[in-house]
């Protein structure tokens, strides 16, 4: 038998300290399993630290009031003050501006992405618009539209439409030419081509724009309400600054934060539903 000679170790080699060495698993370089609700750990810890420092008297209550003071003030403003009205006003402004911006962004992107004439007329113009910081248009818009709601909604709509246009247009022009060829072979007409290939193909890009647009609408809202308003959350915070009410300012920030989180999560949930064909790739 030849197997014995093959399997014996060379006689001069040192004896292996672990004779029947088993395969050692390699050290994993991936960060490991996901912790459930991991994204809440950091913020929760921050609140605990904030509460602890307030309780220990380490924070100046005039600069940073304790979490419970903020909650108290919030509850008080809700029941006895103008908080519900302010929230409603702010939501209306942001909502109306957002819907208008969304409609404009999608319409312009489709017009510019689907025809060369549209592209010639629209794309350069939008990019010119993008080069001008939208908040810089505020003085001009006040002169044109007055200081009422119209100009605020117009500014928010502009802040929203730009990222939606840019991302949707990029997605439209990035549609795989092989799919265009396929549509020709399968004999799709123009409307079927748009509905069955162009729109679904551009949806991932559209959602990127949508999320940026949602964030943009809140950003525009804050700026507009703090400089040119007589109602709304930003106005409430601006007034509180004059009277040194840090707790009221914090209430406003918390409400803004909740708005932002809720709207972003909503877009994400819709996105996951609509783009369910993509989930199979990532899971």
């Amino acid at each position: 038998m030849t197997t014995t000679t093959v399997s014996t170790a060379p006689p001069l080699a040192k004896p292996d300290p672990r004779p029947d060495r088993r395969v050692r698993r390699r050290r994993s370089l991936s960060p490991g399993k996901r912790v459930p609700a991991a994204r809440l750990v950091g913020p929760a810890l921050l609140i605990v630290l904030w509460a602890a420092a307030s309780a220990a008297g380490a924070l100046d209550p005039g600069a940073i009031p304790a979490p419970w003071t903020v909650l108290d003030t919030g509850a008080h403003l809700w029941t006895a003050g103008t908080l519900p009205d302010d929230i409603l006003t702010s939501l209306q402004r942001a909502g109306t501006g957002f819907v208008l911006g969304l409609a404009a962004g999608v319409t312009l992107a489709l017009a510019s992405g689907l025809s060369r004439t549209g592209e010639a007329l629209i794309d350069g113009t939008v990019n010119l618009n993008r080069a001008i910081p939208t908040l810089g248009l505020i003085p001009l818009f006040i002169l044109w539209l007055g200081i009422g709601e119209t100009f605020k909604i117009a500014i928010i709509a502009i802040v929203v439409y730009i990222p939606i246009y840019l991302n949707t247009h990029a997605a439209l022009s990035g549609i795989d030419s092989r799919f265009v060829e396929l549509a020709e072979v399968q004999g799709l007409n123009r409307l079927q081509f748009i509905r069955q290939i162009v729109v679904p193909g551009a949806l991932p890009g559209f959602f990127v724009g949508l999320r940026l647009g949602v964030t943009g609408s809140w950003l525009g809202l804050v700026v507009l309400e703090q400089i040119n308003a007589t109602s709304g959350l930003g106005y409430m915070m601006f007034q509180a600054q004059n009277y040194g009410q840090t707790d009221v300012i914090l209430v406003g920030l918390v409400v803004y934060g909740i708005f932002g989180l809720v709207s972003d999560s909503t877009v994400r949930i819709v996105e996951r539903r609509v783009l369910s064909w993509r989930r199979t790739l990532s899971s």
Binding site: L182, Q186, W277
Partner: protein
């Protein structure tokens, strides 16, 4: 010599002096060709020999290519590409039904999927299919339109060897059942001999060799040598 002579009287595809050029370089140089109805033809050639250009011309897909010549092709043409080209956002059945309407379209789609061995996968997403399954779905998509002419551009080029053998059998079987005219573009000599009744070799923009394959003959090896010679490949025979 070719089977089903009665079907071969009327040419399905007719090319007369077909010329195509890209940037001054002539790729197809005055090709005259008749493809009889119901014939399975393979088109061989080196990469860059213009075989895909010919197929795209017949498919009517060469929008911005300079050229001249006459071309007639049937109304119902299906194309199978090298990639399955399934839309990732449509389930398999909806991909098969792309561009098809009518009330019994769905039934036809299901039947086509069953025919290519994908029964039960109607609701799957394309990303869940293997390469072979995706190409089967693409075949179902082209079949469901009951084409008079099936154009296939290296449809098995991206598949592994074992899957390719299965797909050869499937394609031949589907062709025997539905009898469309087939123009299969390939660079694989053996694939051409296994599948086709007639093999054309495209060489410098012209048909260099037109070979009828007798399927019952045992002369496969000889066909192979002749085709390889026409392609400029000489093999050392043991």
């Amino acid at each position: 010599m070719a089977p089903h002579t009665e079907q071969l009287t009327r040419p399905a595809v007719q090319l007369r002096g077909l010329t195509r050029s890209f940037g001054g370089r002539t790729v197809l140089d005055g090709i005259d060709l008749d493809l009889p109805a119901g014939q399975f033809t393979a088109l061989l050639g080196h990469s860059g020999s213009g075989k895909s250009t010919l197929l795209r011309a017949v498919a009517g897909l060469d929008h911005e290519v300079a050229g001249s010549g006459q071309l007639t092709a049937p109304g119902r043409v299906s194309v199978v590409f090298q990639d399955s080209r399934l839309l990732p956002w449509r389930r398999v059945l909806d991909n098969v039904l792309l561009g098809l309407d009518g009330k019994d379209a769905e039934r036809k789609g299901r039947e086509a999927l069953e025919e290519v061995g994908l029964k039960g996968r109607e609701r799957a997403w394309p990303s869940e299919l293997s390469g072979g399954e995706a190409q089967r779905a693409a075949l179902a998509r082209s079949l469901v339109r009951e084409p008079e002419l099936l154009l296939a551009d290296e449809p098995f080029g991206a598949l592994d060897a074992l899957t390719r053998i299965k797909m050869h059998a499937l394609l031949r079987e589907l062709w025997e059942r539905h009898r469309p005219s087939v123009l299969l573009v390939t660079h694989d000599v053996d694939e051409a001999i296994v599948l086709a009744d007639r093999v054309l070799v495209l060489e410098q923009g012209r048909i260099g060799l037109d070979l009828t394959i007798d399927r019952d003959a045992r002369a496969r090896g000889e066909y192979r040598l002749r085709l390889l010679a026409a392609l400029g490949v000489t093999e050392d025979v043991r």
